[in-house]
């Protein structure tokens, strides 16, 4: 298993996109912190960039990488290797390199320029989101043989999680504004890892007061140790469930 991860990581490093991604994150985070005197403001600007870019890069790069490794996977499947190990190794290689890229590109500048609970939460969430979107990409890539379709599904999923989902939530809130939906919103936020990440970071920033009554309810729930732990567990579910589903599909796939 280690051997396959080694070959996957060597291959990812060879095509240099991940290196470019690291440099890009590094440039953005350093420039944000050098423009803003107030680190809180800097973090807030960085937050919005990260929540858009990290899932996008993770999901698209992983999907294309899986399709481009079709030959590699085919070669390995005819060897004395467990299919499960091949798939998990691919996942580990992708997730590992993208998480590392995020940590170097955005994590280290944040830790240096804005240490503290908010900064650490943000680095943690960025790394979790990288892994989650690699898992989602692998599920999209294993469902269809058609490369264009697979990449299309990935882009749509990213659009859904980063834009459409929020639109739907706002729509529902307006339609049912006569009802008390604040508690239900906690559950709904768990349905989207990006939102969950955003809420957890914002709550650490102490600007939840500006989010109105819903913000207060969120603060009540996620602000506590139990709430935070539950949120983290939900994030881990977002990692494990797509990986498990894709693994099941891959085990039965004809190559």
């Amino acid at each position: 298993m280690k051997k396959i991860i080694k070959y996957v990581i060597a291959d990812i490093l060879r095509n240099k996109i991940v290196l470019a991604y690291t440099v890009f994150l590094l440039v953005i985070s350093l420039s944000v912190f050098s423009i803003e005197d107030n680190t809180g403001k800097g973090l807030l600007s960085l937050l919005n960039i990260i929540l858009i870019i990290v899932p996008l890069v993770a999901v698209i790069f992983s999907t294309i990488y899986i399709y481009n490794s079709a030959e590699f996977i085919e070669l390995l499947v005819s060897q004395p290797l467990h299919r499960k190990r091949i798939w998990i190794s691919l996942f580990a290689g992708l997730a590992g390199s993208l998480t590392l890229a995020f940590f170097v590109g955005a994590g280290i500048p944040v830790i240096i320029c804005a240490p503290g609970a908010t900064g650490f939460t943000m680095v943690g969430m960025g790394m979790l989101l990288s892994v989650i979107f690699v898992a989602i990409a692998m599920l999209a890539a294993v469902t269809t043989r058609d490369k264009a379709k697979g990449i299309g599904i990935s882009i749509l999923l990213w659009l859904y999680f980063s834009l459409i989902f929020d639109g739907l939530v706002v729509f529902i809130l307006f339609q049912f504004q006569d009802y008390p939906l604040e508690k239900a919103m906690i559950v709904v936020s768990g349905l989207n890892p990006i939102d969950l990440g955003r809420i957890l970071i914002l709550l650490k920033m102490d600007i939840s007061a500006m989010m109105g009554y819903t913000g207060a309810v969120f603060k009540d729930f996620f602000g506590t140790g139990i709430g935070f732990t539950i949120a983290l567990l939900v994030m881990f579910c977002w990692m494990i469930v797509p990986t498990w589903l894709s693994l099941r599909k891959f085990n039965r796939k004809d190559l």
Partner: protein
Amino acid sequence: MIIATNVSKQFGKLKALNDVSVTCNKGECIALIGPNGSGKTTLIKSILGMVVPDNGFITFNGKNILHDWMYREFIGYMPQTGRYPENMTIGQVLDMMKDIRKQNKNRQLDEELVNAFGLDGLLSKRMRTLSGGTTQKVSAALAFLFNPDVLILDEPTAGLDPVASELLKEKIIKEKKKGKLVLITSHILSELDDLVTQIIYMQDGNLVFHKSIENLRKDTGENTLSKAIANVMMKK
């Protein structure tokens, strides 16, 4: 050694394998023959576990292959069209395979074909720059590299030049003499004549017959394999 029992596989509407049962034993050299799309490659891929059958099961040395994977250690597979990671060199592919299959140290590496095909002089060439024939050479060399008990060769000589295909044939005969099981598919029947001991004939996913070459010659009254098969096909 390999026993397939009532194996069926369907791709969409196409029935690629229909209730196929075969038994392959040690020391045999079996030719899988049949028109294009008769399910030969699907059968081979099912044996390798690359295609999961809808029905039926396959055993290798008495063990069901469905949840086993170590049995592939005893198989050398040469695909019809070898596909390899494009930005790796021949040397890297060979090293990677050696690295992955290293666990069995008592097995000697068999680099005869690597040398015979002159691949050791091309080690730094990238897979994407190779011609179809050279890719086939890499596939063949990989199939024989680990000295496996079973060789599964899917159209081994397609795309090879006469010299290389003669080298490969000699190698197959040599391995057969060591008592290995060899499974070959090919459309060039004349070259199978002096290789095979058994014939499996398939059509539209069905196994039409499985007999020894002597029996086939006797039944059809023809001496060469190509005439015997032509005889069978005409009767259909």
